[in-house]
């Protein structure tokens, strides 16, 4: 549908990739760990290796949670746009196919939050 407007109105997207100084927005949520009230919004160079992203910015964001250190990465799953996703840690975010404003969900089936209460 088109917008009801007094003149033709196109709409100028405010958050296109070119506005982030070479970085991309990447959102990451950790399922059933609601001590983090919402998925986190990161602004990251697309050339960063996926493993470096996890060990760096992601660990910094989630590391305060006692279960972060307990994650068995061989059992952890990822969803990208709600679909299964198998990242290659050695490859860059870009080469893993992560575009601007992509959303990832980390699932740790053995760890369902503190006391199993999704905390």
């Amino acid at each position: 549908m088109t917008i009801a407007s007094i003149r033709p109105y196109g709409g100028t997207p405010k958050d296109t990739e070119d506005k982030f100084h070479g970085n991309r927005i990447l959102y990451v949520g950790w399922d059933r760990h609601l001590m983090f009230y919402a998925p986190i919004c990161f602004c990251i160079p697309p050339s960063m290796a996926f493993a470096d992203f996890v060990a760096g910015p992601l660990a910094q964001a989630f590391g305060d949670h006692p279960q972060w250190a307990q994650i068995d990465w061989t059992k952890a799953n990822w969803l990208r746009s709600n679909q299964p996703f198998s990242p290659d840690g050695a490859k860059s975010l870009h080469d893993n196919g992560l575009g601007h404003k992509e959303v990832l969900r980390l699932q740790t089936p053995d760890l369902q939050g503190i006391g199993g209460c999704a905390i």
Partner: protein, 515 residues
């Protein structure tokens, strides 16, 4: 000269002369050019004279009533200030609810003023013109009286100092700000359905009740009085909201689907906005009035349904979102407090954990959700506090493109999983908290692609302190963003426990009540 030639006009006569007869059919310019905004939304009005004026109020009577109310209000505000009324509130935690109120609501009122002033000009019928003009004046009065009443608190407590500046910048305040800017950039008919009907008529009691009764329960005479002073206007606004929808529906059957879409959209936008009110009722009033869930059941599920039953004869249906809201009513206040408590480093008010007593109250009001999902969370946070590790989330949240609320809402059928929705539009990805926000976007993507989302704006570099150089060595982005917001770290934010507000209130109250 015969001084008694004219007898006084009757109310009805006077009313007709002073409202309806003020309008005329223009001849130098065609009427469509004088009222150019009447067509573009697709609403068809055939006969403006069919408008029933819901309240026969003339401007002179209006001024008289309002002046009386002002006099009373300002007498109470003065007495409140002179007697240190702020020390009579139940507990200094309560004052934090006022900080949210001040940084969110007067700006909404002011925008309501702007919106109705525009409608006073654009509406082609004289009846709605006059009603909208009066409401425009009411709304600016609401903004003023709120600012004046709450200015008393600014002398004593932190966080009140720059509410307008913060309203335009602070992350969570983009939620109320964008809500009203969405309405103000609609056509005149959508605006009046959005604000006059959906907000004023369907949802207003859910806003008023917690603030006004909450103020009364918590000893805040000042806030209570401006609430009552506004409430008598509110009755008039509600009547206008109902009249306008009936008028539009009766004018042309083609109006129905357009109006239904607006009701669906604005009921949802309104309820999302009320999340913060839900939190305030359940967590921020030391003396509770009723729970959010109870308020929702009384004011929406009972009263609101009666209204929709009444409108069913025009073909209006209960908005689809009602089903999801019914599921969410057990959760949103807790999820919101979880967000603000953990984000307490970037708030312009203090946060705290509910006491054991308060948690028991919450269990009794939310038997299906509190003990299972939320009590364990707060107990874990309490344990961390005891260990000296009070949790602060230092990250920026992912936001919904439409309501701009952090993505904190969970799936209707699983309160342990965040609800993620996304679509692609012209090669870009957009994310939503719910199907309903997604549908609003899909209908008018041109509008919502322009959302000013604080998290993204910060990353684009648009939210650093004036003169800051992000490339300078040792640049601290968080500190610079707080400076940009005019938020004083360590005074305005962080936990209530140990705050300057807490200490001052205790000391002053002691001085006031002992020798």
């Amino acid at each position: 000269m015969d001084m008694n030639a004219k007898k006084k006009l009757g109310l009805k006569e006077k009313y007709a002369l002073m409202t309806r007869n003020l309008g005329w059919e223009t001849t130098y310019e065609p009427m469509d050019k004088v009222f150019p905004q009447m067509d573009y939304e697709g609403i068809r009005i055939h006969d403006w004279d069919k408008w029933e004026d819901p309240f026969r109020l003339t401007m002179d009577a209006y001024w008289k009533y309002q002046a009386e109310k002002e006099k009373k209000l300002y007498a109470i505000i003065d007495a409140y200030a002179q007697n240190n009324g702020h020390l009579n509130v139940t507990d200094a935690r309560y004052i934090n609810a006022l900080k949210i109120f001040l940084s969110a609501v007067p700006s909404l009122e002011y925008n309501a003023h702007r919106g109705f002033a525009r409608l006073g000009r654009e509406m082609r019928g004289v009846g709605p013109q006059v009603a909208c003009q009066m409401q425009a004046i009411d709304e600016i009065r609401h903004a003023q009286t709120q600012i004046h009443s709450l200015s008393n608190y600014n002398k004593f407590y932190n966080g009140f100092h720059d509410w307008k500046h913060m309203n335009d910048r602070v992350w969570y305040l983009s939620v109320p700000k964008s809500f009203f800017e969405d309405a103000c950039t609609c056509g005149p008919f959508e605006f009046i359905i959005a604000i006059g009907f959906s907000f004023e008529y369907v949802l207003t009691n859910l806003v008023f009740m917690p603030f006004i009764s909450g103020a009364a329960y918590n000893g805040d005479l000042g806030a209570m009085t401006f609430g009552f002073s506004a409430q008598s206007d509110e009755a008039r606004h509600m009547t206008l909201g109902l009249e306008v929808i009936k008028f539009m529906l009766e004018q042309d059957p083609a109006n129905l689907p357009i109006i239904q879409r607006w009701i669906d959209k604005w009921t949802w936008r309104g309820v999302r906005l009320l999340t913060i009110v839900a939190m305030l009722m359940d967590y921020m009033l030391p003396k509770r009035v009723m729970s959010w869930k109870e308020a929702w059941e009384v004011y929406f599920e009972e009263n609101g349904m009666a209204l929709f039953n009444d409108l069913a004869r025009y073909g209006i249906k209960v908005p689809d979102c009602a089903a999801l809201i019914k599921k969410e009513k057990d959760h949103i206040s807790h999820q919101a407090w979880n967000a603000f408590y953990t984000a307490g480093m970037i708030t312009n008010f203090h946060t705290w954990l509910p006491s054991e007593d308060e948690m028991n109250w919450l269990s009794s009001k939310y038997p299906d959700s509190f003990d299972k999902y939320y009590r364990p969370r707060f107990e874990y946070y309490r344990q961390r506090e005891k260990e000296g590790k009070r949790f602060y989330n230092k990250t920026l949240p992912m936001l919904c493109q439409v309501c701009q609320i952090p993505m904190l809402f969970t799936e209707g059928d699983d309160p342990t999983l965040i609800s993620y929705r996304q679509i692609e539009h012209k090669g870009d990805k957009y994310h939503f908290c719910s199907d309903h926000c997604q549908h609003i976007f899909e209908h008018e993507p041109e509008k919502y692609v322009e959302a000013w989302l604080p998290a993204h704006q910060i990353y684009q570099g648009n939210c650093f302190a004036e003169g800051a150089d992000p490339t300078a060595p040792g640049f601290d982005p968080l500190k610079s963003v707080l400076d940009y917001w005019h938020l004083d770290f360590g005074r305005d934010n962080l936990d209530f426990e140990g705050s300057e507000d807490q200490k001052n209130f205790a000391a002053w109250r002691q001085q006031a009540t002992t020798n």
